[in-house]
Amino acid sequence: MTKKLSITLGTSAALAALVFTFWPERDSPSQEPTVEPVASINAKPDAHASAPSKDTNSTRQWNSDQERDAFFIADMQGRFAPHIHIQHAQIRLIEQVISYLREHYPDDWRSRVAALLGASFPELADELLNKFDSLERYNEWLLADRKQLQQMSPEDRRQALWDKRYAAFGEDAEVIWAAEIRNQNISDALIELDQSSSSNLQEKLGSLVNVIEQNYGEHSEAFIQSRQTELMNKFIQLPSVQSSLRELPATERRAELRSLRQSLGMDEEALDRWEALDNQRDQAWSTGQDYMARREDILSRYDGSRQQEELYALQQSVFGNDAALIRQEEAAGFYRYAGQRRIGRE
């Protein structure tokens, strides 16, 4: 048992006992079947049984709706109190309240929202209720105009969404969707970098890091450190970056890749692992492209069963143990070495 529970008062002790009663067992390796396929179990079909969500458990736990409501409120207070002054936290609280009420009071949930929000954070009752109304308006619009939204270009759709967000929430919208704004700024920067005339990859990557620093501030280093691979993937797959890398001779390209990865904070060990991976891939692609050429040759020279025999022999000689996998992929229409290689990604 790795979780720590601390229950503070008497009524909660009984709850703790219940929680422990229903605490899940660890996933035991002995549960894992060792033979495939596993024989069917002989259990009676559990047709249409409801999942034992909090519905069924709550009937075991709560003496009354008020008791359950109170527990929910305490939970919301515990979760959101440290950040409730932030508009995004307020919206998440409201969503939790809606979800809870819809589940437990499906017929009159809406009429209970104000009371539950007020009980959760009395000093913010009116503000939260206003936000609830705004969220309802915004979501109704999303629902009503969904089809038109999806037919718009991404830029037009974004503009339409922001127009409605401002209409519903005013300037608060920028705080509620702050994370989305941040993500979008980085996406926009990538598009801009791709279109810039500079062919200096270090400069381009430096510009991306600048945008991250502007958006993440004091947290930018932690962000880059934790999202190194995703950032490198996004950067390196830009058509202009791929084009620059393709123009470089192999040794210079490897050095450039190493330097770019280093700029995103990768240490020497990581750089060495990458270099080994690049080498392995260079070799695989060289073999693969040679295979594709010889494959084309066979297709042009032979037909029918002879063609299949020749292809089979070629696959065996080139790929050895992986030949069956290559055949499986080709049977499904996928040729891993047919397209242009995405340097640094495969």
């Binding site: 047709a47 207070q77 009752a125 915004y138 999806q150 702050a178 947290h219 934790s226 990581a270 692992r273």
Partner: protein
């Protein structure tokens, strides 16, 4: 004192009598990082919103630095994760290969030797191929937990419906663009291959290629060969609560009846199995029937007030290793199904599903089981 004030006061009084629970909320840190594998459409432009996030763009496994707010406060600050990105519309042969390459990249950057993979929708198929390639390449089983969420392991009727150009579908590309955004028009996509992948049988025996989930499952099974622990989360919901993006599909599609048992595609809808004659009993999530979704053991998701939500393994419906031959229970049981639609569990609004706590709970489950 009006009714609203009285209600609020009563709740406050009860609250103060009960006192607040103070159970721990933070998910434990997993030993091995979590890799996210997205479904069809990807996350660059899936309806214009982020994929693995809440409805406001906060990434579900974004760890919190000191004083940071826009992050997941329910996870350990040292939790490691990686968001893979593959071609939005392609077969799982291609996407699984790309996922494998992406994971190789991540392993090179991070120095890890193992990963846990969470795949949503088609990502649940992709992860099986990636797991095999990783095992083949490295000579050991790299994937610890492989968890699929809402995955059409045995096909989706919607894929066949669109391919068949049924009423409402005048163009396959335009239909997909309507639901997934303009990303469909991006280079490298193959919408037809993507859809054929998600039909159970070989959709066109005369097109020179063997497609569909049946053939894919034979080549890339679940089970312990490449994935130490295969698990799945199932979703199903009624139309009334369906995400509007999926609700629009109902204008084209009557409704999936996805909880009947058969050893083949008995009702010819493109998914293994059949219906039970009642299409309105929450037996699908808008895109996938529940009889298509189980891989390995099912996971149960349990929402908790006062503590972090739970996820744990349920063995009652047995283990599906041969994805083409689930038994009657595995195809018809609604047990442990999450009452959400296909898009609620990713960041596509509007919904009230708590994505942050859901993924924190999965993280906690993996961590508590040693991986």
């Amino acid at each position: 004192m009006n009714m609203r004030t009285r209600l609020a006061t009563a709740l406050l009084v009860t609250c103060s009598l009960l006192t607040g629970p103070a159970m721990a909320r933070d998910a434990n840190r997993t030993t091995y990082p979590i890799v996210f594998a997205h479904g069809m459409g990807g996350f660059d432009d899936i309806l214009g919103y982020d994929y693995w996030g809440d409805d406001y763009g906060v990434y579900v496994l974004d760890t919190c630095s000191w004083g940071e707010y826009y992050c997941n406060h329910d996870i350990n600050s040292g939790q490691e994760s990686f968001v893979a990105s593959v071609t939005p519309f392609a077969s799982s042969e291609q996407r699984g290969y790309e996922l494998y390459q992406d994971i190789q990249n991540y392993l090179a950057s991070s120095g890890h030797s193992h990963v846990n993979i969470i795949g949503h929708s088609q990502g649940g198929l992709d992860l099986r191929k990636a797991a095999k390639l990783l095992n083949d390449n490295r000579g050991y089983r790299v994937v610890k937990y492989g968890i699929s969420i809402s995955s059409p392991h045995r096909g989706s009727p919607i894929a066949q419906y669109v391919l068949n150009m049924q009423p409402g579908v005048t163009s396959i590309l335009e239909t997909l663009a309507e639901y997934f955004g303009n990303v469909i028009y991006g280079g490298g996509n193959d919408a037809i291959a993507a859809l054929k992948q998600l039909v159970n049988h070989d959709y066109d025996p005369n097109d020179g290629v063997t497609t569909g989930t049946y053939a894919f499952n034979q080549a890339y099974p679940a089970g312990t060969a490449n994935i130490e622990r295969s698990r799945s989360l199932l979703t199903g919901q009624d139309n009334g609560n369906m995400n509007p993006a999926l609700y629009l599909l109902k204008e084209l599609w009557t409704e999936i009846d996805g909880d009947g048992y058969a050893t083949y595609d008995a009702n010819g809808d493109g998914a293994l199995g059949t219906g039970d004659g009642n299409a309105s009993d929450h037996d699908d999530d808008g895109l996938v029937g529940i009889n298509s979704q189980q891989m390995g053991y099912r996971l149960e998701y349990w929402e908790c007030y006062g503590c972090l939500d739970y996820v744990w393994t349920q063995t009652n419906t047995g283990y599906v290793a041969d994805l083409n031959a689930p038994d009657a229970t595995q195809m018809t049981s609604h047990a442990w199904k999450i009452n959400q639609d296909h898009l609620d569990i990713i960041g596509v609004p509007p919904d009230t599903f708590d994505e942050m706590e859901f993924y924190a709970a999965i993280t906690d489950f993996i961590a508590d089981n040693g991986f």
